[in-house]
Each structure stands twice: as C-alpha cells, then as structure tokens.
Amino acid sequence: MIKIENLKHYYKDIDGNEVKALDGVSLSIAEGEFVAVIGANGSGKSTLARHLNGLLVPTEGKVTVNDMDTMDEDRTWDIRQSVGMVFQNPDNQIVAAIVEEDVAFGMENIGVPSAEIRPRVDKALAAVGMSDYAKHAPHLLSGGQKQRVAIAGILGLEPKCIVLDEPTAMLDPQGRQEIVATVKSLNKEKNITIVYITHYMEEALQADRVVVMGAGKIQFMGTPKEVFCRVEELEKLGLEAPIAAKVASELRKCGAKLPKDIITEEELAKALCQ
C-alpha cells in the first residue's frame, strides 16, 4: 500500500544549519495493517507522517502510495484522498462551525454530488459514534469528540489509509481511550490501513507492528512484543516500556530468571507465580 524507499528530508533551520529530519528511512506498509510509529519529540516521526500524503516531499528517496509517486503533482489529490490525515491539535483541524458541515468539507472539496454527501456524512459520523452531535458546534465538544469528528471528516473521503499524527497528545485519558477504540474498530471492521504516531506506549501496544524512530532513522521495529521487551534501548531513545516489561527488566538485574519477552501484566504474573 505505502512504500518508503531510503527517504531523506533535510531543511535549513533559522540559523541556516541543515537539519536532517529524516535520514534514510525505508518502510513498507501493507494494506489493512495497523502500524504504530513511536519516537521522542524531534525523532522525525511527524515529518515521516507528512510524507505519506504528499504534504512534504522527499529531499531524496521515494514515497509511493498504491504505486503513485508523491512527487507526481498530477496524483497529489488522488493520494490525499486515499491517505487521510488526523493531526495533533483537535481545535486546529476543524474548519466549519457545525459538526456535520465539517464532515462534509472534504467531500465538497473533491466534488462529491450534493445528494450523495448527506448519507456519507451520516455514515461517517455513525462509524465514530458521533451521530448525536451532528448539529453541535465543535468548540463545545471534548477533545476526544473533536478528534472523532476529524476522523469522520476523513472517513467521508473513503480513504484506504488513515495516518494519525499524535492524535492523543492533547487529550485526557478518556479521550485517548475513545480514539484508540475508534481507530482499532476502523482497522478491524473496515480494513482501513492505520499509521498511528504516538509516544504513548499503551496505545502502540494495540498495533500489529511497532516502528521505533530516533534521530531521523528507524531504530528497530517488530511486533509489540518484540519491541517493548527492549526496555533499556527504549529508555535511551526517550521512550518508555510497558510497566510489566520495566519491572521484569529490573527483576532480571536482581538475578531473577524471567522469560525475555514479558510485556503484559498477565505474562509477568504467570512468570512470577508459577
């Protein structure tokens, strides 16, 4: 679905120094996959996200979406229609002053016939559980609800893939749960490919595959199990492992013989209480 080959993205900062935001990233994402990208602030994960729908284009290397090159300007709008994007700040991505108008915004942009927009808006709002709020003003919604409206706005475009760039960074725990649950159900039920960027490891645990970014490069990747048992490497990158993995790692230092791949509480309990 998405292929990234040796992607480099450089830019000049205010002092004129060249910053290597991405320094040789290669990654391919299959259709229907749920990929989490984790990394500390400044690791290049947001820059990577913006390459996936052509908001940024590579300095070097190549990004293709369903074989469409993001450098090809004729395909920009096709790419953006198939790869939707949700951003960090829930306030700054809602355009209209009424929820349903905002959901319709994307469809209006690509010229969906008026008669078709209405049912698609209703469907999209239902998919994120926001049907009751169709006529509400966005500024009166909670952060989690705003993000769900943003997701609905993208669903209206019937994308193949949704990229979420730290969608929960500004939300409270309840909002975070709402978003993770929504994203998971879209992935499972509608088979939408998900690229989920976050620094909350609890959220990354839900993914099929976790990509760990640091200093503009992919440091390592694998299933959540493979990634999150590498406690010390994660901490070095400014990230955190799940609590059970952390405790297991500490216990090993005390001489305990525990399996290498403990990441959940259940696994730790089993290993300790046999």
Binding site: Q88, P173, V247, L251, C254, E265, L272
Partner: protein
C-alpha cells in the same frame, strides 16, 4: 503558612442559560512544604479549583485566605498574598511574548516590584532550575526554541516570581516520556531546595502516586477525597473506579500479583517499591 479555601462555591455564567456550577462548597487547606496532586476528570471542576488558589477567580460564596490574608480583597496585602502563589497554566508556552528568554522570565518579577538586581538573580536561578543554560539561552528569542524548551522558559517565568506556593496545571501534557520525567524531576528539586508547596493538576494517577504526598480527588465540583495517595487507593479503589478514575498502573500490577498468590508487603506507589517487594517475596537480592 497556608492557602485556605473555606466553603468555596463558583458558578460560571451566572444568570444566563449557560449557568453551570463548577465548585460546590469546597473547603481545603494547603500548607507550605506539601506536594499535592489534584485528580479529576475533564469538567470535574479541578481547573476552576486551582484558579481559586490565587484568587484568579473570585468565589461566589466562601473565602480564600492566603497566609492569613483575605486574598480576594483589593488591598496591597491581598495583592501581595496573591503574588505568593505562582501559577503555571496548561501549555504555558503559549503565553510567551518577549523578545528574549531573559525578558520573558523577568516579566513576572518586575511586575512584582523586585529591584533590577533581584530580578537578575531570580531569572538566573529560575533558568538553572529548569535546566536552561543562561549564557546559551538568555538572549535568544523564545520562539526559536523547541516546544519542550519553550515550556521550560514558561515554567521559569513563574519560578522567577519566587513563589511560596507553585501551582502547575498538567505540566507534562503533550510531552514525550523523557521530557515528562524531566519536568517532574525539576519540580521535585525546586520543592526540595525552596521548601515551597507544590500543587500539581494531573490526569495521570501514576504521576500522582509517584510524586505527591497528598492527593485531592475532585468530582462534580466537590472534594471527593483528601488524603495520602496510598490510603486513598487502598480504601477507595472501588469508588474511584466507579467515577471513572483508574488506579495507578503500578498499583494495579501489584494487586494483580498479590491476587496470584505473591506475598507483597508495603505500599506500592512506584516501580522501585514494586521491584523491592517482589524481590523480598521471592527472596532475590535487590540490586539497589
């Protein structure tokens, strides 16, 4: 030395159709030297609550007394009392405005009437606390810094007021794990050296358990619980879950291990304590 709220009630937009009671008869006293965590849902009234701690909001009913002075008054005593409470709002980096980092941090102390010498001392001190090197950053524009650095400048701007009470509304919001740890380390350091009171509003029970020695749980505009975190978790876990607040992960994990037959002793409020308890139970030698 304390901040006292006595039977404080507050209603937003009184007399309009949007009227909403945010605080209902809250009484609490926060002493110098405490680290208090305030937990509650969005909309529970906890933000309204902290804005009363330095009388930014004036209560409809009740009193705010800071160091024995009625802080809602217009006297210079009242003003001075309010100035002893430093307040770091959510996303404080959005309030930066001056041309240089130094100027921005000096804004508060100057308003407070410090002499220029004193201002310079406070600015340097504050920058040291938040880990920004004076020579490197003082003359830079705050808007050229990274998000995390901007946050630290903003916190320094409040620390430079040399407050006796420091209130922080979700100081770690939006930061990555390493930066979150760092923010709390700096706050604890400040508490240790200046012996001031710290009030932290947070969504994270883990942060509350790890850093606070007193916990206030606010729900629907009322003070639900007030006490030591370990006691509240032990005695009221069912009720807390009922209002939708989760226990700290480390506490949950400890409970789970106990339920599986592991004999863990002591209060488990952080990872270190849990590891220690497991080592004891299993007879392993604790490395630390």
């Amino acid at each position: 030395m304390s901040i006292e709220l006595k039977d404080v009630s507050y209603t937003y937009s009184k007399g309009t159709p949007f009227e909403r009671q945010a605080l209902n008869n809250v009484s609490v006293s926060i002493d110098k030297g405490e680290i208090v965590a305030i937990i509650g849902h969005t909309g529970s009234g906890k933000s309204t609550f902290v804005q009363h701690l330095n009388a930014l909001l004036k209560p409809d009913k009740g009193m705010i007394i800071i160091d024995e002075v009625d802080a809602t008054g217009k006297t210079s005593d009242a003003k001075a009392a309010r100035h002893r409470v430093g307040m770091v709002f959510q996303y404080p980096e959005h309030q930066l405005f001056a041309e240089t980092v130094e100027e921005d941090i000096a804004f508060g102390p100057r308003n407070k009437g410090f002499s220029e010498d004193e201002v310079a001392v406070q600015v340097k001190e504050a920058m040291r606390f938040v880990g920004l090197d004076y020579d490197t950053y003082a003359k830079r524009s705050p808007f050229q810094l990274s998000g995390g650095q901007m946050r630290r400048v903003a916190v320094a701007g409040v620390v430079a007021l040399n407050p006796d009470y420091l209130v922080l509304d979700e100081p770690s919001a939006g930061l990555d794990p390493a930066s979150r740890l760092r923010v709390f380390r700096e706050i604890l350091e400040l508490h240790k050296t200046r012996k001031i009171a710290i009030v932290i509003v947070t969504h994270s029970m883990d942060e509350a358990a790890e850093y606070a020695n007193r916990l206030l749980v606010i729900n629907k505009g009322q003070l639900l619980y007030d006490g030591k975190p370990e006691e509240i978790f032990k005695e009221h876990s069912a009720e807390l879950r009922q209002v939708g607040l989760d226990m700290p992960q480390v506490y949950n994990l400890g409970e789970k291990l106990k339920a599986n037959g592991l004999n863990l002793k002591g209060d488990i409020m952080n990872t270190k304590a849990l590891v220690k308890a497991i080592c004891q139970a299993k007879g392993w030698k604790n490395a630390k």
